[in-house]
Amino acid sequence: MPKKPLIIIPPKNQIAPSEITSESTYLNRRQLMTSLLGGALIGGPLISHAAPSQLTDENPGGPAWLKEKLLAAKPAQPTSESITPYNHVTQYNNFYEFGTAKTDPAKTAHRLKPDPWRVSINGAVDKPGQYFLDDLLKGIDFEERIYRLRCVEAWSMVIPWVGFSLSEILKKAQPNSSAKYVAFTTLLDKEQMPEQGNRLSTINWPYQEGLRIDEAMHPLCILAVGLYGKVLPNQNGAPLRLVVPWKYGFKSIKSIVAITLMEKQPITSWNVLAPKEYGFFANVNPQVDHPRWSQAKERRLPNSLLKPNIVPTQIYNGYGEEVASLYGSLDLKKHF
């Protein structure tokens, strides 16, 4: 697969940069960081990208090797879009293992122990194995990717992830010819993830997601380990999460412990729960409504009471130029 440059298409209804203060501050800090990068590599404290006012948790912790690698990450191209402030990205989460309210994960995710962390890669691969995260990530360079995240609930954010293409990990395990799909599994542990012990939850734990192999190998599809240049906070899916920017957010599974290559389409949590509402593909598509709400538009967060900040939703979340070819003549209304 040819490596394509990351193209970020600005939305038509652009918010004036002055309305949200984060972007300019963020970009300035990043420039500063880039210029300091040489010195910082010696192992000084992690330089924050965001303005201090946006940070409620200045130091999400994390192992030293990860912090060092994050510092060396290649910065993203500047974007004309307003980046969602750090406090909102880290305090407004759908991570049902920690509770169903958006504010629950930030409160309870401290129970998760992301270090040490083990990930197994198995199934239709020539080199299956279970790895400690630092071993798995050896030799893999990080880069920053600023992606739009479109939730199936019709809100969206713009988030500066730090990670690497999923394909780099998959290639290490050497998928064989029967590997047609990739399945992902979140940690299953009631002690660390309290909602998994709640009998009133509709989800059959552990949370599972999946991609077709060509989707998984696409260069835009990343595994993230950082956010805003810092270690990924627990509530955002530490220590390792998927980010598939052209699909609804629920595809981007968090706190991954297993990656399984399969011949058959894997079971995915929301699809099993409500197949009419959540498809396996779950590509962002303004023309296919959720049965209970419209997907034509989205609320770009943060918004305010008088400015709901509603922007039109783009097909494939605006990444159609890069990913539409994956789907050829697939009937997107049927395979939603």
Binding site: T84, H88, Q91, Y92, N94, Y96, T100, K102, T103, W155, M157, N198, L200, S201, T202, I203, D289, R292, W293, S294, R299, L301, P302, N303, S304, L305, L306, P308, I310
Partner: protein
């Protein structure tokens, strides 16, 4: 001390307590503490309090019957009016802040989403109950008043449907309010033969 527990003082206490969720929300708006999607927080919180006041209002009669707590009846009207107040805030915030007062998307949502379809007659009925709640109108309605106000049972059923049709990651809300509201309705089916 006892003077603060008379009916008129209790009325003031209950009024002030019932207003606290609203004041708390107003403070959080001022303090910019409603998160990245303030409209959603407003709508959800007002909805929860509308449901809470519906439960409280429906609890008055059983409490009166089982614990002979007659004095509670004096405050039923106020509790019912607060249910309407929070339901109206819930509805108003949804229309103005989430739909941006866009009438077109409102009519579209109205035809498409079962949980919204169920909520509209509930709010209309609540509004009728609020309008017919003053004593003067009560007298005007005569015998029909009781019948009109029994529509609170329909409102309770519609509220449960409104919650069931929104179930996503958890059955919790639907079960808690479903059990409370339907349970309170069931208590009324076993009414004693003599009034």
């Amino acid at each position: 001390m006892k003077q603060f527990l008379t009916t008129s003082w209790r009325r003031i206490w209950i009024f002030a307590l019932s207003l606290t969720p609203c004041i708390w929300l107003a403070w959080r708006i001022y303090d910019d503490d409603l998160g990245p999607e303030p409209a959603k927080t407003l709508v959800n919180t007002c909805g929860v309090w509308a449901a809470n006041f519906l439960v409280l209002t429906l609890m008055v009669t059983p409490l009166k019957r089982f614990f002979n707590w007659r004095s509670l009846n004096t405050h039923r009207r106020m509790l019912g009016l607060f249910c309407w107040f929070y339901a109206s805030l819930h509805f108003g915030c949804y229309v103005f802040f989430i739909l941006g007062a866009d009438f077109q998307s409102f009519t579209f949502e109205l035809t498409q989403r079962p949980f919204i379809i169920a909520s509209i007659p509930a709010w209309v009925l609540l509004t009728i109950l609020a309008i017919t709640s003053p004593k003067s109108i009560m007298r005007l309605c005569g015998k029909r008043w009781k019948l009109i106000h029994q529509s609170i049972y329909i409102i309770a059923v519609l509220t449960v449907l409104h919650l069931i049709w929104q179930i996503r990651a958890s059955y919790q809300d639907a079960i808690i309010y479903g059990v409370l509201l339907l349970g309170l309705l069931a208590l009324r089916c076993k009414r004693p033969a003599t009034p």
